[in-house]
Symmetry: C2
Subunit: 406 residues, 2 copies
């Protein structure tokens, strides 16, 4: 039988699990301390819900659950769908369904937390896991831009709490970007493909973006317009009005940036980046990302998705969320030593003496986490191992507690 | 789009999630306080591992993950397996694989914790969930019966910590039961089917068991032998030697019961029950269950499985585990009110005043969990709702904290 975990998933050793537990608890504490409420949703979702969820590329990465019994036989006979459920690829789609189902029992706006696993059939490559944790906060039922600010400051506070101090928040607005592209003359139905190219500005530069758009056969006049916009990039939020007709979006994002800056106490930057797109198709307004300055790449991402919940409820319901990419954080911090909140000691006993060992352990458990082990023949070696594993001392069933190194 | 969670799974509202978090944290604390270490394994396991895991009926309840892309096309064309992974149906099989893969980095014996979700395609009926939590502790690498005692006292301590005080531990030993059935004259290869009937002693009585065995066409002389044994049931552990040749198993279980009783401080009973079988095929020695006296049915189950890890490592590795059936506990306690460890207050602000609201919230977060909400036009109604939801007070951005009812 195979001993390795399935491709793209991890086993976590005790020290790793302790760090994961500690980070998750710290993040959850900050979220709760900011008035958000924890909810729990199932790992599996209806296949149709997943398919209709505007999840962009992620829709191609869904792990599907095979139908069973008669249902499966019928599907095989008819050439029908082999699956009617899948593992969730993010926590936003389950949240929307949850909100639609439970909104009568939730406050409005609802400020909700999910910290849980998601699954994506990513191609195995460095850093891409097929099972990973996300830690999300969402505000549902308010279209106030204060929500964006609250999510940014709360997430920043969570990052600080776990020792990720040096980061930068990048923000954009899908509506604003749309306005810029329309003004340049791109046809409304082509904006998605334009965005795919524009999103690469960081990597391939303005010339690369222009080359891609030319290859995509957009009119030279339109590309020329867009070139003069690209020349002005990176562009300040105060100047974006020159390139779009959507003054509302410009004002809204400008206000979000100003408020988030005012609340950052100068500890982190809020940077406007018109080329920030983010993959999910469901975003409708502000989008944001946090990137670590010390470690390349995004560690958090989110945005406003005002149309997704309406698909379930039939009524427009504004919503915005921010997700901490837990695995990235974990890999950054996994070198860090975990100080257990309570120190561990061992009670060592000889065969036949378990009851006295357990009773001695009970006395010590008020002050320590206490493990019971049979005493090894080579007790010195055993003690050295315990010390290596982080135990601070040991006791025999009828002995005093001996602290290592004293 | 469908708003209900998929069949057999649950959404949890904030108050329910708070109770689940609290129970899980309390159980984990007790486990850690007893020197066990938390580990984490993936939700998905290799299909072949699952199929060969001696999981009894659970093997028919595995949710399988559909292959993807070319692999799926090939399987459909060849009539091959449509799945090569499944969701774990318990935490024991993943633990064994984990131990085999990571034993070089684990202490011996390894005392490990898993608290996580498992999935079974149960028929939807009251109380049978398709996604549920288990909280397991296992000791791997020791064949000492002290392990059984340690698991029983640790689990009992966890139950007490979460307020389940009134329970009873039922214990048996597979080897002992085997000895009894062999002495009665049942053929060795038929013991599993005999156990299926004998396991129902509680429900259908001795006559029912005899009727089933007669129907299964066992020899009248054998059934007659077994009848005289049934007449002696419930049998005391001290008398079981009269009905088996396996003195070792009898002595071992007798010692376990005596030690567990000595450590129970009279707070719970340890009951020998020769008819306790437990479904999993992988158990080899002691098996145990805890049942609530106040609420019908088992709330914990476990046993020794000395052969399962060897399937992965090729070397015999003794192991024993005990699992808390978290969902049963949750349903018993779900009426109980959750006292949040920290009290919640709200900061209410008017549009345009978010920054001052957030700054006021920051002052209060040292002492309270603080949620920020826009002030409703009908503020009295809003305050009443907050109080209903468990908030203890509120503040305006520039005001004092007002505690409700003062």
């Amino acid at each position: 039988m195979k001993t390795t975990p399935v491709k793209g998933t991890n086993d976590y050793l005790p020290a790793e699990a302790a760090l994961r537990d500690k980070l998750q608890a710290a993040i959850l504490d900050v979220y709760k301390n900011h008035g958000f409420e924890h909810i729990i949703t199932p790992a599996m979702e209806d296949a149709e819900n997943l398919d209709k969820s505007d999840g962009g590329d992620n829709l191609n990465l869904i792990f599907k659950i095979l139908k069973r019994g008669e249902k499966l036989e019928r599907a095989l006979a008819d050439g029908g769908e082999l699956s009617d459920m899948g593992l969730r690829y993010d926590l936003t789609l389950p949240l929307c369904r949850y909100y639609a189902a439970n909104r009568a029992n939730l406050p409005s706006p609802a400020k909700l937390i999910q910290c849980d696993r998601v699954w994506r059939a990513e191609r195995p490559q460095k850093g891409r896991l097929r099972e990973f944790m996300q830690c999300d906060i969402d505000i549902i039922g308010s279209s106030s831009p204060d929500c964006e600010v609250e999510l940014i400051t709360t997430t920043a506070c969570a990052l600080s709490a776990i020792g990720i101090g040096n980061f930068r928040v990048r923000v954009n607005d899908r509506a604003l970007l749309r306005g810029v592209l329309l003004r340049a003359g791109f046809p409304a139905e082509s904006l998605d493909t334009v965005c795919v190219s524009f999103d690469k500005l960081d990597k391939i530069g303005a010339d690369g973006v222009v080359a891609e758009l030319t290859e995509k056969c957009f009119e030279p006049a339109v590309i020329e317009n867009f070139k003069s916009f690209l020349a002005a990039c990176p562009i300040d939020i105060d100047r974006i009005g020159e390139f779009t007709d959507d003054e509302t979006a410009a004002k809204r994002l400008s206000d979000i940036i100003a408020s988030a800056r005012a609340l950052s106490d100068g500890k982190y930057d809020i940077v406007f980046d018109i080329s920030l797109v983010r993959g999910q198709g469901y975003y409708t307004g502000a989008v944001f990302e946090i990137e670590s300055v010390d470690f390349h790449g995004a560690i958090c991402g989110g945005g406003r998705y005002d149309n997704l919940i309406g698909k379930f409820t039939g009524e427009p319901t504004p919503a915005v969320g921010f997700s901490i990419g837990f695995e990235r954080i974990f890999s950054i911090l996994s070198g860090a030593a975990v100080k257990d909140s309570s120190a561990r000691v061992a009670v060592l006993y000889d065969e036949g003496d378990f009851i006295r060992a357990e009773k001695r352990a009970r006395e010590l458990r008020a002050d320590y986490d206490v493990a019971i082990y049979e005493r090894a023949k080579k007790m010195g070696k055993q003690l050295a191992r315990l010390e290596e594993r982080g135990f601070v001392g040991y006791s025999l069933p009828d002995g005093e507690l001996r602290i290592f190194g004293q």
